[in-house]
């Protein structure tokens, strides 16, 4: 591991905010894209199923 302490990992010598913000954006965007795709699939399945029953 490059960092010697947890505090150092968080602060990253003053660059912590920039780095962690970018990684958080990445994780949020990936999760959001996956959720949107799965959610649309579920909605479509439900919708088409109710159409078929009619």
């Amino acid at each position: 591991m490059y960092f010697t302490s947890f505090e150092q990992l968080i602060s990253m010598d003053g660059h912590g905010f920039y780095v962690w913000f970018c990684y958080a954006c990445f994780v949020l965007l990936v999760a959001g894209n996956i959720w949107a795709a799965k959610h649309r699939q579920q909605r479509l399945v439900k919708q088409i199923k109710s159409q078929l029953r009619r």
């Binding site: 591991m1 490059y2 010598d13 003053g14 920039y18 780095v19 970018c22 699939q41 479509l44």
Partner: protein, 253 residues
């Protein structure tokens, strides 16, 4: 032109054109893309964030590279994919190709936004400014506008085949922007640094710095493949809901 008449595309090219075939084949591919994406991205993130050494000039802020570079690469690749599938749809009148292009838009736009956001954040400690009107940044912003244009056009036209053709033309014309983005750092005097990563040359970084980047790029390609396949399968369900195979598929769900 007899050589042209006798020339055939491989069988899979025509199989891809069948919505049902793509729907089933995509479902079989997805677990592989998901597993590879998870493996590569988790390894790349942990390695890049915790184990890679800091840059001697930029310090720890260079770790932003591990999300910024894959996002930028993917945003351009997906745009090209949108242009190519749009062209295939126009030339061979393939519905599925338009559906793939449509599935590309949101994924591509969000990766472009991510590249711009992480780039801006990286710019602050490195250049002293969040944004400069540099050729690389400006051409990438134009790409984001092109993505939103394609999305708006898709929303505005109710007829899917008309929307597919209209957006294909916009995506093909917009692809001119891709080489502009790529060569902007060479054609103009830019603040943005040149590529750290090329297919042909040996990387200028040591392996413990570029390996996490390679993992992240590969992982993001797999992730986007999963997303585009899922998006296309959603489009197929939406547009083929009248087909009997869809009813049979939903019975098992």
């Amino acid at each position: 032109m007899s050589w042209f008449d006798n020339w055939h595309l491989p069988k899979w090219f025509y199989q891809m054109a069948s919505p049902k075939w793509f729907f089933d084949f995509g479902a079989r591919l997805q677990p592989w893309f998901a597993a590879l994406a998870l493996l590569f991205i988790v390894c790349g993130l942990v390695w890049g964030l915790l184990y890679a050494p800091a840059d001697y000039q930029q310090g720890n802020s260079f770790r932003i590279m591990y999300v910024h570079v894959p996002a930028a690469i993917l945003s351009q690749s997906i745009f090209l994919m949108m242009g190519v599938t749009g062209a295939i749809g126009l030339i061979w009148k393939m519905k599925v190709a338009f559906m793939v292009a449509r599935a590309c838009t949101l994924v591509g736009a969000s990766f472009t936004a991510l590249a711009l956001i992480t780039g801006a954040i990286w710019g602050k400690p490195t250049w002293g400014a969040y944004w400069v009107w540099d050729a690389r940044l400006t051409s990438t912003l134009i790409m984001l506008f092109l993505y939103t244009g394609v999305m708006a056009l898709n929303q505005a036209i109710a007829d899917r085949s008309v929307a597919g053709r209209a957006t294909a033309i916009l995506a093909i014309i917009g692809s001119i922007n891709i080489p502009v983005i790529k060569y902007s750092v060479e054609w103009w005097n830019t603040l943005h640094q040149a590529s750290t990563f090329t297919l042909t040359a040996k990387p200028s970084m040591p392996p413990e710095m570029y390996m996490p980047l390679l993992f992240m790029v590969l992982g993001c390609y797999c992730l986007c493949a999963w997303l585009v396949v899922q998006g296309t399968r959603n489009e197929i369900l939406d547009q083929e809901r009248q087909a009997s195979w869809v009813a049979r598929y939903l019975e098992d769900q």
